[in-house]
């Protein structure tokens, strides 16, 4: 998508406004977009998902992370009414997840599977025509044109899907997912196989959709993508390991630390760091490097700076250590691996 012809926000906001939603949507406005309670799914006695509970607010971008085989796709398929849970309950778009409500739920959601699943012998437009009719959308021609413009695929509308590159097929699948103006959009690895520019465009589209009120349930292996896009993330490894905002998860899992580097080793570091406000403990991490475990970096950093200057140390750097979502993810997955080895 080039920046000069991209206009996803007004296009998509327009889609949402046109379909209206009416009384039903207004009535459900107060409820969460997705609520899962003790959801479990077994396949032949093997637990794919066990005791998973979470809630996703309307308009939220919710990241669902986990290693291969963790149960992410199973959860999406369960919430998408494609497979029935073994136990537990859920509501999707405000509707209880029951076999009788399957059609009603599927009317309000859209799922983009990891594999685009396009009809390769048909053109992009023919693919979208089929799905516009399956969703019984009003003004299918206009809706298809808007969806194609939103993913910047209008110029390839008449090409057979079999002739498109992997990235373009992914965009066509995304356009298909947008056709029905869904309240909840499940995206399973939407940037898988995309080059960085195309991935950035998809990120912008997700942000625009979220701003227009669409709830996004994003499963991804790209942790930087989740960190950048998601309001909250959940890490799944058959059971739900953790859930929260990325920064919350970092704080939960890792102690907050200050990294101190000096030009030469401090002769008596215990006298410098001991007793400083908000510094819980310290240890040496190299000849002239020190790690301070702190409860509040905003208090500890100025105090440490003053103490170092008073001790005549030549300070090279004082910085708060940053843990990424990847650190959180790897820590939790490693904990699971170690537990399974024991």
């Amino acid at each position: 998508m080039s920046s000069n012809d991209r206009a996803p926000e007004p296009e998509l906001t327009g889609l949402r406004r046109q379909s209206g939603g009416g009384a039903g949507r207004a009535a459900r406005a107060g409820t969460a977009a997705i609520e899962a309670s003790h959801l479990a799914k077994d396949f032949g006695g093997r637990a794919a998902v066990a005791d998973v509970s979470f809630s996703v607010a309307r308009g939220e971008v919710f990241g669902f992370l986990g290693p291969n085989g963790a149960g992410k796709t199973t959860t999406v398929r369960t919430l998408g009414t494609l497979i029935a849970p073994t136990s537990g309950s859920a509501t999707v778009a405000g509707i209880p997840l029951t076999p009788e409500n399957g059609v009603e739920i599927r009317r309000r959601i859209s799922i983009m599977p990891e594999s685009p699943g396009l009809y390769m012998r048909l053109s992009v437009t023919e693919n979208l025509e089929c799905f516009a009719d399956l969703y019984e959308v009003p003004d299918p021609g206009g809706r298809i044109a808007r969806a194609l413009r939103a993913v910047n695929l209008a110029d390839r509308a008449n090409d057979a899907c079999g002739t498109l590159s992997k990235g373009l097929r992914q965009r066509a699948a995304l356009a298909r997912a947008l056709l029905s103006d869904p309240e909840v959009l499940f995206l399973d690895e939407p940037t898988s196989g995309l080059d960085p520019v195309a991935a950035r465009d998809v990120h912008e589209l997700i942000t625009a959709l979220s701003q227009s009120g669409v709830t996004i349930f994003l499963t991804t292996h790209r942790l930087e993508e989740a960190e950048r896009l998601c309001d909250r993330v959940a890490i799944l490894n058959t059971t739900l390991r953790t859930i929260g905002r990325p920064d919350e998860l970092r704080d939960q899992l890792f102690a907050r630390t200050l990294m101190v580097r000096t030009l030469v080793p401090i002769p008596a570091p215990g006298r410098v760091f001991g007793g400083l406000p908000a510094v819980d403990s310290w240890h040496q991490d190299g000849p002239a490097a020190y790690v301070l475990a702190v409860s509040d970096p905003a208090v500890a950093a100025p105090a440490a700076t003053r103490a170092l200057v008073a001790a005549g140390a030549d300070v090279l750097a004082i910085s708060e250590s940053h843990h990424s979502l990847e650190d959180v993810y790897l820590e939790l997955v490693n904990q699971d691996e170690e537990a399974s080895r024991r």
Partner: protein, 240 residues
Amino acid sequence: MSISRRRVRAIFRKELREYRRNRSLTVGMAIIPVIFCIQPLVNVFTLQSAASIPLRHEHVLLYMLAIPALVPSFVAAYSVVGERQQGTLEPVLTTPIRREELLLGKALAALLPSIAVAYLVYGLFLACVELLARPGVASALIRGPDLLAQVLFTPLLALWSIWIAILISTRSADVRVAQQLSALASLPSVALTTLIALNVIKASLVTALAAGVALLLLNRIGWRFVSAAFDRERLITGTR
């Protein structure tokens, strides 16, 4: 339960577009009628006028009802397992479509070209007989009741084959296996029409009415039964 015509039409149109562009399917649909046409034509052309008398007591034209019994099974067997193998079934099942609508759309899409092919082959066969067979042979072969039976039983037999083939397709993991099993499952229909054509089973108005009503009922039940056997979860996950 209400059936959405728009969703049925969407599947029907999509299937026809796919058939048209799938060379292996169109070739497969064309080969069976050609095989069923060649041998009877050769026989008819070699018949002497004197042979027309015993022909009047047989219903050779009904032999060609094997075409609507076999041709649709080839495409219908592909319809579910083919989509599953291509990975296109899951996106369709995420839409509000009901399984009854999906299967009806697929069945109608297999039915229409099958009927068209069958009627086209009948027309060509009759034209060849009328133009090239010896005097007496044509009038012995082409008789009003047989023609009427052929026209009426073609869609009924085709639809019955389609439901069996779709049922096999929903339970198979491989397109070729589904097509072979479906062809095998069509053989009882082929055997029955051949026995009637050769006068082993006596053809009469009562036989025709009974067979017609039975096929209508079977087709009605077939749709419901195949819909009940269509298991979204098994088709998507491969386990249940």
